[in-house]
């Protein structure tokens, strides 16, 4: 047990923070203990306390193990590297251009697209039998049948990384935009005034401050990319697959002995994710050093126009891939017969929608309920925490801050198994509330992450004014701070909602099959590879968070339509 004193620094009675930390830490610690126990228990309880490394030996001896490991590792690094570079350079190059707000407007709905849906869309687009080749065939390509090209599921994981990159770009874009108001952008102009190129000016003057604020989200991307399951199943290499998929296979094996192998592999997975994080951290220092040297030598990188256009094009492609992918989901959901190389379905039908309607509504509604309750509760906890920090005048220590984000940094595949055993033992699995509880573990950090910066950037003198006008702390909170921060609060809620909707493993494991949601259904159906059903389910899965993102951006605009200072166009930049 970590020293609680560290979390409670400078606070007399901080039960709230304690509750939150318990909520996040206890399940994860319990799950980790279970995991470690499992890994060492291959031959039964008797060897529990002897170090039995047999399970680890068995994992390492698995065919293709090192390839699986290196795959998870490099995907975990390349994804944030590309996504972060594109986002940063794009913002540097285009923040002040008139078209920027359009990009920003498109980016939000793209953020709402669940990973699995985006991956399916990409699959339908770029596969040899996919839309692009259909468009070119047979007239241009001459193909009467799909070419035997290794585009998706390629052994190096290129299409897999591509899917992750196009989904992480909107996420990093979102968190960067949230961080910008806390950064003095005039620094760029000063640097540009010295004759630096536009991008270079931004990188040396603004990026360091912004990066410090978005570092955690970047780490979360590393953790996610190195251990994701659903995207890997759709587009990832198969022989061998990334380690997360191997773990899943072992977990699914009815052969008992595979259980400890799965547990050992899960521990190795944690190690890989940590290694990727460590490598990134070293990379940070190297980049910092190089950038300093370049800046000290007075390099200007003046002629960056071609580069700016290049990055602009990459961004357009990334966003375009997601949007076209979604359009293809729509097409497939209403496609009857659609054989290669026809660019459009030969027969259109609503059969998929009609036949699935009842189930779509039922599981969609349940997913929405779980997402709504878990993000509402998370939001309340986050607000209570932030307000508590404000009133008690405390800031999270670094350790506390990182603790909140452990659920984002520990691979889900590594600890959900232990957690479901825990819930089962307590007899609380299979209920809506237990699913909500587990969702909160993953939703809370995202809501906190999104809201903390705008919340803390709030000019607290407004609250001083309210209090000097005789209003209590509570009234100042409800009537001043909350309404003024309506847009970021709703934005955080929408993001939490989207995070909850996309949860697959926790819903399945804790729900015990009794709480099927649109996401567990989509994945179960996807196992059959029926594109029409994938289309309908992935669309509904996309639509739910989209509705809340739309509301989150519309409601403040309507509520504050007559309040210029609160319009997002002014607040965002």
């Amino acid at each position: 047990m970590p020293n609680l004193q560290i979390f409670l620094v400078r606070s007399k009675l901080d039960m709230l923070r304690l509750v939150v930390l318990m909520l996040l830490l206890i399940p994860i610690s319990a799950a980790t203990l279970t995991l470690v126990g499992s890994a060492f228990k291959w031959h039964g309880v008797s060897e529990l306390f002897g170090i039995n490394a047999t399970a680890f030996g068995a994992v390492v001896a698995e065919p293709g193990f090192w390839k699986s490991v290196s795959l998870s590792f490099w995907i975990g690094l390349i994804t944030p590297l590309i996504a972060l570079s594109v986002v940063m350079i794009f913002i540097a190059a285009f923040l002040n251009s008139p078209s920027f707000k359009w990009v920003w407007a498109i980016m939000k709905p793209v953020l709402a697209v669940p990973h699995a849906a985006a991956a399916f869309g990409l699959l339908f687009l770029i596969a040899p039998s996919g839309f692009i080749i259909r468009l070119l065939s047979p007239e241009i390509s001459g193909f009467l049948r799909p070419p035997d090209w290794l585009i998706v599921n390629d052994p190096a994981g290129v299409s897999f990384a591509l899917a992750l990159v196009i989904k992480e770009i909107p996420f990093l874009f979102f968190v960067t935009m949230a961080a910008l108001p806390q950064t003095d952008l005039r620094r760029t102009q000063i640097a540009a005034g010295y004759g630096h190129g536009q991008i270079w000016s931004w990188l040396i003057s603004v990026f360091p401050a912004v990066y410090l604020q978005i570092r955690l989200p970047v780490f979360a991307v590393i953790a996610f990319a190195s251990s994701t399951v659903d995207v890997a199943l759709i587009l990832g290499p198969v022989a061998p697959p990334p380690l997360s998929i191997q773990i899943l296979r072992w977990m699914n094996d009815p052969d008992l002995a595979k259980g400890s192998i799965a547990a050992a592999a899960a521990i190795i997975q944690i190690g890989i994710t940590l290694l990727a994080l460590l490598t990134w951290w070293i990379g940070e220092h190297i980049v910092l050093h190089l950038a300093r040297m370049a800046a000290m030598r007075g390099w200007r990188f003046k002629r960056d126009l071609p580069f700016r256009l290049f990055v602009g094009a990459i961004m357009a492609i990334a966003v375009g891939l997601v949007c076209f992918g979604i359009a293809l989901l729509v097409l497939w959901s209403v496609a009857g017969v659609w054989r290669f190389p026809n660019a459009l379905p030969e027969i259109w039908t609503f059969k998929s929608w009609v036949s699935q309607f009842q189930n779509l509504v039922e599981t969609g509604w349940r997913a929405a309920k779980i997402a709504f309750v878990s993000s509402a509760l998370s939001l309340m906890l986050v607000l209570a925490n932030l307000e508590n920090e404000h009133r008690s005048n405390i800031r999270p220590t670094r350790l506390a801050w990182w603790t909140i984000f452990i659920p984002l940094l520990v691979p889900q595949i590594a600890f959900m198994g232990g957690l479901s055993v825990l819930f089962l033992r307590l007899g609380i699995d299979g209920t809506l509330w237990s699913v909500v509880l587990v969702h909160i573990i993953f939703v809370f950090p995202y809501v906190y992450l999104t809201l903390a910066d705008p919340w803390n950037a709030f000019d607290t003198r407004y609250l001083d004014v309210a209090r000097t006008l005789g209003k209590s702390d509570n009234r100042a909170f409800w009537e001043i701070r909350l309404p003024i921060l309506l847009a970021p609060v709703l934005g955080a809620f929408a993001l939490g909602f989207a995070v909850s909707i996309a949860q697959y493993l926790p819903t399945l494991l804790i729900g015990a099959g009794r709480q099927p949601t649109i996401t567990t259904e989509a994945v179960a159906l996807a196992s059959g590879g029926n594109r029409r059903l994938i289309g309908t389910y992935a669309l509904v899965q996309t639509l739910l968070p989209f509705v809340f993102f739309a509301l989150a951006s519309l409601v403040p605009k309507i509520a504050w339509s007559n309040r210029r200072a609160l319009l997002p166009t002014r607040m965002g930049q």
Binding site: R10, R467, T468, L469, G470, W560, A565
Partner: protein, 234 residues
Amino acid sequence: MEQQAGLTPHKDGSIIMQNNGGIKQNNDGLVLQDVKILHNDKHLLGIDAAIKPGEVLTLMGPSGSGKSTIISAIAGFLPAVFTCSGTILLNGKNIANLPPQQRKIGVLFQDTLLFPHFSVLQNILFALPPGGSMAKRCERALSLLDDISMVEFADRDTDTLSGGQKSRVALVRVIASMPNALLLDEPFSKLDADMRDSMRQLVFEEARRKQIPTLLVTHDPEDAKAANGRILTL
């Protein structure tokens, strides 16, 4: 004492009044007795002063001298790195340990800090002490706006007002809350030069008319001159 209050400062504003011993024992007004402010346990500044109803006391000092900290201390929202000791008497009652919302002290900041989500009228309604029907409250708020000739701006978005208009609304807002004392934290420094004079007039007149003890902190000698009262220099 009367003459002290009426003293005109020299051109350089250097008259220093740190002695209030001659003040007649009257419970009314704002009295700071042995108020000391520590920054991380290090002595920052101390002040003794008495401000009578309707009087404007000016506290002069360069930036960084801790002027604003005194305002925070008196109003009750001193940041936690500071500690404050001593007695703050308002109309005879020690308010030093009360939360800001119970002190009945109004503050005007450098920025107007009008609530951006409220209209002009709503800003004032928010400040009015609780009680009374909505119609009565509106009537009262409008009459306050009328005092500054801004009735027709009642439903306006505050962000669309000019700087001078915003300052006037901020003044009316603080007056609406019927404070027992008024603290002014360089409230004129961000105004255009031509607005500044009229705003000073308005604020000081209002303070005198309502018989509110007022403490002005500023680095601008013009402010002090316009306040036409005693001056303390840090």
